[in-house]
């Protein structure tokens, strides 16, 4: 499909699984319809919008596909079938994703049928490198396995805070891992990329927070692995997650959407922008969302820059900032930057390069320690006043050393240290650590997060958790710990890992 208008129309329906329901007879349709086929003319203007994006379906019948059409060839064998929603009121075709089927094994469809499935937002199929990347949510995974089906319930805020802060957050990492030595890393399935991770993370943040998606005024997506050089991830996130007031007739979302880039601090940099935006009294921006998502890139091991290949992960984390029902209030921040070219990727190059040992002391450690110290000075804090510390995690050893340099003890850092389980998720790395802390933190605890972005700079933030964090923690099954230690994880070999990362 090389027609952009067709792509837009298919994506508009397929990414969110939009449909219509007849207000007269209740019949449901996948795809938006202006009238009901049964009720006919009298149903004009009596159709309501519905969508299946957060719903749970049932895989009614399926078959294994061993010889896909050309566009699906890279996926290999997969399960294709039909999925019903709302007790069979509406049925759609569906492909099971996150599933590696061996070509030499029999598959009994009966083992897959009648099981509950959740829609997943994925790349649709392979296209040429210069084409629009097609996406769809007619891909499904079992609702009782790695990715649990969770309802999205919009809740009315109860309390307004004096300071802005985190209202909710979500983390998404894939169900595949590569394990080498002691280190495990998240590996995308072949139909995933930074765009799909950003959408999944945002979805999780809405599920956790119960924030009304139409009240979010701006979404920022920080990434260094956007598959496009030009074309934002944020506009896709805004459209799929219906961020801002919807102008339905035109298919427009009334929200600002912007991508940011600064190596691994692309997301944390704009935490403060998001918070000042929701704090500014003259604009009606109730919430702002910041997402960091990366399919962290690395050249293969024998090539320059290949050292990264031992550490890169895949994931997205999303934070919603606001003034109501805050779970962690902002206490202060400090950012610094310098022209230190320790890690870079020129345009049109597929993989980043880095400056070897130069990325250490004069880059990573210098900026993290500077930002951390300055923020403590500003807020008049000592390391002992801080309950949890987390910083950017490119390897398992560096964040430990940076924390020690700042005077933190191991127990202050342990909760946020996730790199050994999930790998370096680039823009998602320190936010993911922050999320892991928020998953477990008690109320009234101080958290310091310090990011690092090559090129180079750091953002340090101090948050203090509120009493509301406890109730919201129950809203999320898909916690960082759940993802890091899950019985449904599947471990892949090096060749598969490279192939999956390369994607469709």
């Amino acid at each position: 499909m090389s027609s952009e208008p067709i792509e837009r129309r298919v994506t508009y329906i397929g990414d969110r699984l939009k449909g219509s329901r007849c207000l007269i007879c209740g019949r449901e349709y996948f795809k938006i319809r202006r009238y009901c086929g049964v009720c006919g003319r009298k149903s004009f203007d009596r159709m309501e919008d519905m969508d299946l994006f957060y719903e749970k379906g049932v895989l009614e019948a399926c078959t294994v596909i061993r010889e896909p059409t050309n566009k699906f060839r890279k996926i290999g064998s997969y399960i294709y079938g039909l999925v019903s929603f709302h007790n069979g009121k509406v049925r759609v075709p569906g492909r099971l994703t996150d599933l590696i089927l061996k070509d030499d094994k029999d598959v009994d469809p009966a083992n897959f049928e009648d099981r509950e499935v959740a829609p997943r937002f994925r790349r649709r199929y392979a296209v040429e490198k210069d084409e629009i990347i097609p996406t769809i949510s007619l891909t499904f995974t079992f609702a009782d396995e790695y990715y649990p089906h969770q309802e999205y319930k919009i809740t009315k805020p109860k309390k307004v805070y004096e300071n802005p802060g985190i209202v909710g957050y979500g983390v998404y990492t894939s169900r595949f891992r590569i394990k080498e030595g002691m280190m495990e890393r998240s590996v995308p399935f072949i139909d995933e990329d930074a765009i799909t991770a950003a959408v999944e993370a945002g979805k999780m943040a809405f599920i956790y927070s119960g924030v009304d998606h139409s009240q979010v005024g701006k979404v920022y997506v920080g990434s260094e692995s956007n598959p496009y050089a030009v074309n934002p991830i944020a506009s896709k996130v805004a459209q799929v997650l219906k961020i801002g007031e919807e102008e339905r007739s035109e298919g427009i979302q009334g929200a600002d959407a912007i991508d940011t880039e600064f190596a691994c601090k692309a997301a944390t940099s704009v935490f403060k922008d998001a918070m000042t935006l929701v704090y500014y009294p003259k604009t009606p921006t109730k919430y702002a969302m910041v997402i960091g998502a990366d399919n962290s890139q690395a050249a293969s091991r024998e090539e320059p820059g290949g050292e990264l290949d031992f550490f890169v992960g895949f994931g997205g984390s999303a934070f919603i900032f606001g003034m109501e029902d805050v779970i962690a209030e902002i206490e202060g921040w400090y950012s610094c930057s310098s022209d230190t070219p320790d890690f870079w990727r020129r345009d049109l190059e597929p993989y980043p390069r880095h400056g070897g040992r130069f990325t250490g002391e004069p880059a990573y450690f210098k900026h993290i320690v500077k930002a951390g110290r300055k923020l403590m000075e500003k807020l008049n804090l000592k390391p002992g006043d801080i309950d949890y510390f987390v910083c950017h995690q490119p390897t398992p050893t560096w964040p430990t050393k940076a924390a020690a340099d700042l005077g933190f003890k191991q127990e202050q850092c342990i909760l946020g240290l996730q790199v050994a389980k999930l790998g370096n998720t680039y823009s998602c790395s320190s936010p993911l650590g922050l999320a892991a802390i928020l998953d477990k933190a008690e109320p009234h605890r101080r958290i310091m997060v310090v990011s690092y972005g090559s090129g180079a700079g750091s953002d340090a933030y101090s948050f203090i958790t509120t009493s509301q964090i406890k109730e919201k923690q129950n809203n999320q099954k898909f916690t960082v710990e759940y993802q890091a230690q899950n019985k449904y994880l599947e471990y892949v070999d090096y060749a598969t890992y490279r192939r999956f990362k390369e994607g469709l």
Binding site: A61, T63, I65, P68, G81, P93, L138, T139
Partner: protein
């Protein structure tokens, strides 16, 4: 008093298969000339032409098919182009019935091997875009239909085994018929083990020998006003009814997925129009794009009871006598080898199905001529477009 809508006075076709050396024009020319010859007429006798091809515009980037024919035949009569042979046939028959034309050529052609590398993507996208976007293949829906059938009728254990064998035997039967059909794409016999092994080696419920091949080919026939048919042939074949029905493009969205509603409606209407009962039909060409479709079509057309066709087939094919024994009723099905072995050049396929029934009714089928008790008076042709999206049924009869 039964009244013919129109009359077939001549039929023609090419061999189906891989015609790498021929263009679509060459194929349709060959089939057309045979049909004209068999009716004993010249091209100047034609009042109009109705052509069909499913997707020559995609496979061969052909724009205006009719223009090729005009240039080739040096005729300037009205020509129309439809998507399936049955569609062209119905429209031509309607025009004759309306009195607009007296003699019409209906021709179908497809050139699928010219685009072998992309053909499954094209076929699937045309069959249903949303299923294509989700990863469906041209074969997958047949297997889904089989799953829906098994689930709906609660078939389990040994019965599933027998169902699978019955489906495999359909392929064996169709290949056996095709070995006596000089026009067939696949003229060799296959064994039951061969069909089953193809499934086993692919780790699939339906294998290579369960599906019709990708074929090139052309077919043609001459339709005439019944009043003048006798001027051209001693044995005109009457078109007693010709009907069609339509269903959703997306198979998973349909309410009943253990069969094709379009086939059922088309057959009911066709029988009513022809004033015949199902018992009068002794031969049927059904649209066996897969062995599964031959089986399900027997139910959809009313030859077998719903949920029972596999039992009828299993019993009939265990010790095959050339026809299906449908609870005591005799029915010959796909005596040319069906789409499975005769071949399936989409726009031409329906023409080959009609070709077979016409020749059987005329008693001109040579070694595969059937001779049911009580004689052969009526035959039925069933064609489908897409995956049950459109169904056509034509009932033909001897004068």
């Amino acid at each position: 008093m039964r009244k013919a809508l129109s009359t077939i006075i001549g039929v023609g076709r090419t061999k189906f298969g891989e015609h790498f050396e021929l263009d679509h024009e060459d194929l349709i020319e060959e089939a057309g000339l045979v049909a004209l010859g068999s009716a004993g007429i010249e091209r100047k006798d034609l009042d109009a032409c109705y052509f069909s091809d499913y997707f020559l515009q995609i496979t061969n980037k052909v724009g205006i098919e009719e223009g090729f024919m005009s240039q080739l035949l040096e005729i300037h009569i009205p020509m129309e182009k439809m998507r399936s042979f049955s569609s062209a046939f119905v429209n031509a028959s309607n025009a004759i019935q309306a009195g607009k034309y007296d003699i019409v050529l209906v021709g179908g052609v497809e050139k699928m091997t010219d685009r072998l590398d992309k053909i499954r993507d094209d076929l699937m996208l045309l069959e249903d875009p949303w299923s294509f976007y989700t990863g469906c293949t041209p074969e997958a829906n047949h297997e889904l239909l089989l799953r829906e059938y098994i689930k709906k009728y609660g078939i389990s254990g040994d019965s599933i085994e027998n169902l699978n064998i019955a489906l495999a035997q359909i392929s064996v039967k169709n290949h056996r018929y095709a070995s006596r059909n000089k026009y067939a794409h696949l003229q060799r016999a296959v064994s039951l083990e061969g069909v089953l092994n193809a499934r086993i080696s692919a780790h699939k419920t339906l294998g290579l020998y369960d599906f019709a091949p990708i074929s090139d080919g052309a077919t043609a026939l001459i339709l005439a006003n019944p009043k003048i048919a006798k001027n051209y042939t001693d044995m005109p074949i009457e078109v007693l009814s010709s009907s069609s029905a339509t269903d959703y493009i997306t198979y998973p969205s349909r309410e009943d997925r253990a069969g094709f509603m379009a086939s059922r409606i088309a057959m009911e209407k066709a029988l009513r129009m022809a004033d015949l009962s199902i018992k009068d039909i002794k031969i049927s060409e059904v649209y066996d794009q897969s062995t599964m479709l031959e089986m399900i079509s027997l139910e959809d057309l009313g030859f077998s009871r719903r949920g029972r066709a596999w039992i009828d087939l299993y019993k009939s094919l265990e010790d095959f006598k050339g026809f299906y024994d449908l609870e005591g009723r005799v029915l010959f099905v796909n005596t040319d080898g069906g789409l499975k072995a005769d071949g399936n050049p989409l726009g031409a396929t329906g023409g080959a199905q009609i070709f077979e029934v016409v020749n059987q009714l005329r008693g001109e089928c040579g070694e595969r001529q059937i001779e049911p008790d009580g004689g052969l008076l009526y035959g039925c042709v069933h064609e489908i477009e897409g995956f049950g999206t459109k169904a056509y049924v034509h009932i033909l009869g001897r004068d």
